[in-house]
Subunit: 370 residues, 2 copies
DNA sequence: CTGAAAGCGCTAACAC
DNA sequence: GTGTTAGCGCTTTCAG
């Protein structure tokens, strides 16, 4: 203990034998309805009727109800969700499986899922798959089996086609988000990657940029779409697709730094870089500063997602705002909200360009890029 | 059952018309051991013996075992954790209740918890309390009742003393992290805030700083300790405690910006600012840049936690590295690892100073601070 | 209005 | 070796 004895002297009020995680104050293994019934002198089913909230089903004598409730409170009764679940009651739990919590984008998505779930009386059970698809499979097994009423998958799953296949055979609804909008048999909520990238490239072109590069990870559903959208946008603006202008970069700070190095080493370095995620873009900002480049004077950088950090990067990041809340609302509707569920099973939502300070006029041709 | 009437409507679960989240490939409501028994022509308990893994209990004819397993695989059998749980089996679930997932520090903590839990065959169930202590209470209720085998609370809970009290009466182990090291009756794992702040202030003093300020949120266990540690450190170095050098700042970017403004408006602005979290420190970096201040030439800034973003801030942040993994390992030990559990119920781990680029020599007295 | 009894899917004594 | 029989805590008929 940092500073013991300084303040609260650990006043022993209760008679707790030894407070460590092991043995707690009371030993009774959690009071059950039986206990309350015995203590109150009524039958267990009466207790159930009083305590299950479905009181309207059968009238109960007010006196009895009071006595039962009193004893319940006294004994500190808490319903056993396992037993309820066994009987077929919904667990009111929404499973969310994500591969990388540390990615602030997904952290935000989880927050949104949690909010949206709470709105409907649900709670979120988070399964964290540490980047590994195998763990995702295991988690799915855990969350399945009516432990959760529905499951959301965040991010791309296509490197595990068997998973996707299994998912269709499950007994509970599964919805995937940011899984790429290509059809894969399961309900999917996605963002219009093409539109988002188009708006970013348009913005850059409007600023006079002609040498626009892209750097992002490969083989990740959503991200791949953004790369394709970049190629399409370059084409749409009649720009030259220069060799080396598409760099592979893992979605982390090192990836950003490496890609920037390679881009700057080109014969004709780009004057602007389109990154498919804010993490990458912010990594570029940092790497550029280390390289002595000033953004946006020497180089413009754009991101995608609009994570909170994009507002406080130096300089603040021009990016594409992900409609996370709306996507999550749609996903939760698909998963649990819509019993009638005649909603579109594959909604694609529109993102929005957010212009901040990491983009500026293209440098004059002479000093192009660096 | 919080809200009546809503679900009581007995919605037909089966036979959902179209493929949205409704009808999946098969309609059988999940195969049970009974089904396998019937299909195989053995008794249900034999199926249980084969499938429950506890095979060593009673010998089973290899032929039978094979037949059972085959049918099980065929039917796509999955054990029902609810039923197992009802029987008293551990759920192998570790509940983690956190108030702010978006805070990257806690995101990292969750990641660590997840890793540590997985290492022991557990999975993490995340309860998200949206900053509200009331929700934390509700979550606790949900995760309790042997739905989880143990619960971790991340962050300070002391604004809800009743929660803490309840926690001691629970039937499952509860451990709190970053709850401040003052004793509160429940097992707690914390960091040596005092040591961490002392090292930061020492570093700053070594660089020639004499006018060192502090800005952080109030009334948050761990953070309050950091503030007290700052006061102590200032005193230990025989520095003058100047008025206004302790500013209140909510733990977000706006908070950082506001506090910086107020600090710079002082008669004698500080040459260095000690922030109790990296979020605040990075917010200051951004705000300083907006103000035209160059860090660390004009102002030094330090953080606490060493979140991943601290490495890529501009400039990279000098901070105190939280021993998150070690703390989490200790916490999980306390919660589930130690059945014997004779570990220290209140370990305090040491953080480590990480010097990067946001701190530098104090400006000469003339230009002090701005 | 209330009690008795069945059973959700599974495990664990007990029999044979 | 395998089948029978009890329940785990709860909801829900079905009888009073």
């Amino acid at each position: 203990m940092g500073q013991t004895g300084e303040h609260g002297e650990a006043v022993d009020v209760v008679d707790v034998p030894d407070g460590v995680g092991g043995r707690m104050a009371r030993r009774s293994p959690a009071p059950t309805m039986r206990d309350i019934a015995d203590a109150t002198g009524v039958s267990q089913s009466t207790v159930s009727r009083v305590l299950s909230g479905t009181a309207t089903a059968v009238p109960i004598a007010e006196a009895t109800r009071q006595r039962v409730m009193a004893t319940a409170r006294e004994l500190g009764y808490r319903p056993n969700p396992l037993a309820r679940g066994l009987r077929g009651a919904p667990t009111m739990l929404l499973g969310v499986i994500v591969r990388d919590i540390m990615d602030p984008f997904f952290a935000g998505a989880i927050e949104a899922a949690s909010l949206e779930a709470n709105r409907r009386g649900y709670n979120v059970v988070l399964g964290h798959a540490h980047h590994s698809a195998d763990e995702a499979v295991a988690l799915w097994g855990i969350l399945e089996a009516r432990h959760c009423d529905a499951i959301l998958f965040l991010g791309d799953l296509r490197d595990r086609p068997d998973l996707v296949e299994d998912l269709q055979n499950t007994s509970i609804p599964v919805v995937a988000l940011w899984h790429g909008s290509r059809d894969s048999g399961i309900p999917t909520v996605s963002v219009d990657n093409r539109g988002g990238i188009a708006s970013v490239v348009g913005h850059l072109v409007g600023l006079g940029h002609r040498d626009i590069a892209f750097a992002g990870p490969k083989r990740l559903g959503d991200i791949t779409e953004r790369e394709e959208a970049y190629v399409a946008a370059i084409h749409d603006h009649d720009l030259i697709h220069r060799p080396g202008y598409i760099q592979e970069a893992p979605n982390d700070f090192e990836g950003a730094s490496g890609a920037l190095e390679r881009l700057l080493a080109l014969d004709r370095p780009p004057t602007a870089i389109v990154a498919p995620t804010d993490v990458l873009a912010i990594g570029m900002l940092h790497a550029a500063q280390l390289r002595g480049l000033e953004v946006p004077r020497d180089l413009s950088v754009t991101g995608f997602d609009d994570i909170p950090w994009a507002r406080v990067s130096v300089p603040a990041l021009t990016t594409v705002r992900m409609p996370t809340e709306a996507m999550m609302a749609a996903a939760v509707d698909l998963a649990i909200g819509g019993g009638s569920g005649h909603a579109d099973a594959h909604p694609v939502l529109a993102p929005e360009l957010v212009i901040r300070s990491s983009t500026g006029a293209a440098p004059s041709d002479a000093e192009g890029g660096a």
